[in-house]
């Protein structure tokens, strides 16, 4: 008996929505761009150099970066939740965001130059994210249990964030602004170079997708997974490493994007079920889409200035998540 085509159709529908929103996002911002202008750019009828710069050098890389970072953070959220068998787990649990934040802050404070380089800042954040995750794995892995890793994650997060606090206290006003702005998350600095760096994210998301069947099995428990041929220890190292890379690149390029990795997989499970073969790609698509929408709102709502997108995702994601939990609890009680 063949698998019904429903799931493929839903993924295809999501992918189509992503394409439509991606095109639509090019139209929004402080400068007016019409659909006709876009078509003009495609057919080379429009010679306005300002329009070309706005669409091709500012909005298009920003749109692509939003889709890639949103996809990476959300697919990682799905994988971390499956791995830790906890639908309320978040990629931040493995320490990647806090580690990236600490190293970004170190870079800002140590760097004597006035202008911060993209490579220096993102490189430091990326290394920091990976290093912290590695420490969480080493410290937490000793106990063998998932709770040990979670506790190690909480402790290392606290240490890293206290480091950020200390550096913020020691920094100058300009440095403090850089640290705060980065910690709030923004796609404002998107360039084609950042898009190029973020191209590693879809590769990592695909590698996470290849682990979907193993993620399904691990939700039964570590022992059950072993009896079904999956080593939970090896899977844990693979998943945490992949997520650290995906989230690490995202956080390094855009700062901390709150709540996306927690809310999106949860939303997908509520509507499309729990099979990770659906949850991982659907989370990637929906996560990219939601970050794109959040970014469009953040750059238009206070135009010509911009609201950091991390504030918006937390502001909308937090209450929405509470609503989801309440609806779910109500549903369970009725049942």
């Amino acid at each position: 008996m063949e698998r019904p085509p429903g799931h493929h159709m839903k993924i295809a529908a999501l992918a189509l929505m992503v394409c439509v929103l991606a095109i639509a996002s090019l139209l929004f911002g402080s400068a007016d761009v019409s659909f006709r202008d876009l078509l003009g750019l495609l057919s080379d009828d429009n010679d306005a150099p300002g329009l070309k710069t706005i669409v091709l050098d500012i909005r298009l890389p920003r749109t692509i970066l939003a889709l890639l970072v949103g996809a990476g953070v959300s697919a990682s959220g799905a994988a971390i939740q499956g791995m830790f068998r906890n639908p309320l787990a978040d990629p931040a649990l493995i320490g990647v965001s806090a580690g990236a934040a600490l190293f970004a802050a170190i870079y800002v404070v140590m760097d004597g130059s006035q202008g911060l380089s993209l490579i220096g800042m993102t490189g430091s954040a990326f290394v920091g994210g990976l290093l912290t995750t590695w420490i969480v794995l080493i410290v937490g892995g000793r106990g063998g249990g998932l709770s040990t890793i979670l506790l190690a994650g909480i402790a290392i997060n606290a240490i890293a964030l206290s480091g950020v606090g200390m550096l913020s206290y020691l920094s100058t006003d300009t440095q403090l602004r850089s640290i705060s702005f980065w910690a709030l998350g923004s796609l404002n600095g998107a360039t084609w170079i950042s898009v190029l760096l973020a191209l590693a994210i879809p590769v990592v998301v695909f590698l996470i997708f290849l682990e979907s069947r193993n993620l399904n099995v691990i939700t039964l428990g570590n022992e059950e997974a072993e009896h079904l041929g999956v080593s939970h220890q090896k899977l844990r190292v693979r998943i945490v490493s992949l997520c650290a890379v995906a989230v690490g690149i995202g956080v390094a390029l855009t700062g901390v994007i709150a709540f996306l990795g927690l809310v999106v997989p949860h939303l997908v499970r509520m509507t499309l079920g729990s099979n990770h073969r659906t949850v991982v790609p659907a989370s990637a698509l929906l996560g990219g889409m939601l970050l794109l929408v959040a970014d469009v709102i953040s750059r238009t709502i206070l135009a010509p200035t911009e609201l950091p997108v991390g504030i918006l995702t937390a502001l909308v994601g937090g209450p929405f998540f509470i609503y989801l939990i309440m609806v779910e609890q109500k549903g369970r009680l009725v049942i």
Binding site: R3, E224, S274
Partner: protein, 240 residues
């Protein structure tokens, strides 16, 4: 601290061995060692003549279907998806294969119902079907290790599971089952191993192992035998 001591046990193809004993007797630990999940500090465990540590996890999964005592699932997988996980060692996991379909129909499981909305008994049935799916067409090539499979099941489903175990046994499948129901154990088992405090108290056929003094020694309580021969029935005396 010694948990198990002096255990000499062989599970043969086509035979059902039942482990009986009080809580904390070491039955589940023995199951974990036999399944390869835990390693014994001393002694030797062989699965089909090989050290389980030297068999890859995938190969072991094709050889051993294991039901653990507690399997928690926090995500709303459907019953079909959970059962299909048992086919994963064979590279099939979408839930539309013949074995999954057959088990869903055979046990009357609602294929598309969320596991989280099921009762404890229904969840246990789904977990059992998952383990059956793992060895369903393996015949004498595989073994079943079941830790308290009848927990939370109603009488109808207990009887259905018992029949299925007998059918699988007749196809050559070796089984080791941990149970608490002495009378059901007597009906199912080719061999009964009675354990207490990590040691074997009695071993043999139901007639040999299930004697009142053995049971009283193992469970440390007064046991009454009602009836005789194959119709005998054991019950623990109520405390006054």
């Amino acid at each position: 601290m010694k948990i198990l001591c002096d255990i000499d046990l062989e599970v043969q193809g086509g035979k059902t061995t039942v482990l009986l004993g009080p809580n904390g007797a070491g039955k589940s630990t023995l199951m974990k060692i036999l399944s390869g999940y835990l390693k014994a500090t001393r002694g030797e465990v062989l699965v089909a003549g090989c050290d389980p540590e030297k068999i890859s996890l995938k190969a072991r999964a094709r050889m051993l279907g294991v039901l653990t005592q507690r399997s928690t699932l926090e995500f709303p997988f459907t019953a079909r998806e959970v059962i299909a996980m048992g086919r994963m060692p064979f590279g099939v996991s979408e839930g539309f294969d013949e074995v999954t379909q057959e088990l869903l129909g055979m046990f009357g499981v609602a294929a598309d119902q969320s596991y989280l909305t099921m009762s404890g008994g229904e969840q246990q049935l789904v977990q059992l079907c998952r383990v059956f799916a793992q060895v369903w067409d393996s015949g004498s090539e595989a073994f079943l290790l079941l830790d308290e499979p009848m927990t939370a099941l109603d009488l109808r489903h207990q009887s259905k599971i018992a029949s299925t175990l007998k059918k699988l046994s007749s196809q050559g499948l070796g089984q080791l089952v941990v149970m608490h129901d002495i009378n059901l154990a007597a009906e199912l088992a080719d061999e009964i191993v009675l354990m207490s405090h990590g040691e074997v108290v009695a071993k043999g056929s139901a007639a040999e192992a299930l004697k009142v003094d053995n049971l009283e020694r193992a469970f440390d309580t007064v046991i009454n035998q009602l009836g005789g021969g194959p119709d005998r029935y054991f019950r623990a005396e109520l405390e006054k």
